[in-house]
Symmetry: C2
Subunit: 184 residues, 2 copies
């Protein structure tokens, strides 16, 4: 539902192809929003039918042509309305790890611990990424004056990723420690 707004949002900065948008998303919003290449292409097509974007072909040599999308005035309006509307609910989460854990009473604690330790490594890598790469990327964008306001907001979303991963690692540590005592 919100993918269309994400695409419109990115297109307010500059016209881009579906491929570009996927790269940008992976770089910037993957912490809290993601989509597959194929979904991006189909959603752009729908947005064009709704006249919220228009596209033109940019020919290329030795590469497939690029279809570059631009946001229309209608698109800007739709995006603006969505942004102005305050979010009044908490979005329900889905966490497969927690679901497995919930039903894992039949498993040996050792089997569960293996998964938890593995997850800890993954989350630590993510945390470091937010603290180094992501932080630096945002800092650089924020350096140019016309991007400063945007970069401040982006930094708050990066900070969310950082706090989230810290929380997750803390929970994993607690749970691992707790579960190590369940052996006997």
């Amino acid at each position: 539902m919100s993918l269309k707004y994400a695409l419109l949002g990115f297109l307010t900065y500059q016209p881009q192809s579906g491929y570009d948008l996927k790269q940008l998303m992976d770089l910037s919003t993957s912490n809290f929003w993601h989509a597959k290449q194929s979904q991006i292409y189909t959603t752009l097509k729908k947005l064009e039918i709704e006249e919220q974007v228009i596209s033109h072909i940019e020919p290329q040599e030795n590469r497939p042509n690029r279809r570059v999308y631009e946001i229309t005035e209608t698109g800007e309006t739709v995006l603006g309305e969505w942004l102005a509307q305050p979010l009044m609910v908490i979005e329900p989460r889905k966490e497969t790890l927690l679901l497995k854990l919930f039903f894992s009473a039949r498993l040996k604690p050792e089997a569960i611990l293996t998964t938890l330790r593995l997850q800890k490594n993954l989350h630590q890598a993510d945390l470091e990424k937010y603290q180094t790469t992501t932080k630096e990327v945002i800092r650089q964008f924020g350096a140019s004056a016309d991007m400063a306001a945007d970069a401040r907001l982006w930094e708050t979303t990066r900070r969310y990723g950082e706090l989230y991963e810290e929380m997750y690692i803390r929970w994993l540590d607690e749970t691992i420690k707790d579960m190590e005592g369940w052996g006997e």
Copy 2:
């Protein structure tokens, strides 16, 4: 994808109807897994075709009959295999609030702050629920000896909810405080 495992998991405790399963989910896993009534019904139907559950009708007076589902041996096997398989990835999140925030540079800080303060209230209510109602429900289940192992695991998932909400509120507080300085 995992809804079927959730349903199988609940059915290992006792045979239940789709309606029961919805109530149970809302009470227990809503912190990390949820589904609409209609999806539960259709998934149960699919599970019956795959012979992972079987159902029979329980007649009732003055109420529609109940269709009660039981897990089969095939179902137990499928669930067991899923549980034994360690989760090797981090699941991508989707957070509409963060997406909006990311593109909100054009909004007045006051408009954003309204949403953030509203969200804080919602998250505080959730946090309290985990710390009181949910905690108490799990404690009571854990009191009976045959549920003790399960209740220990349930408590770890409740704790996740608690840490998550604490983290979210902390992030909101930080962001609100930060943004209050952007006014001038």
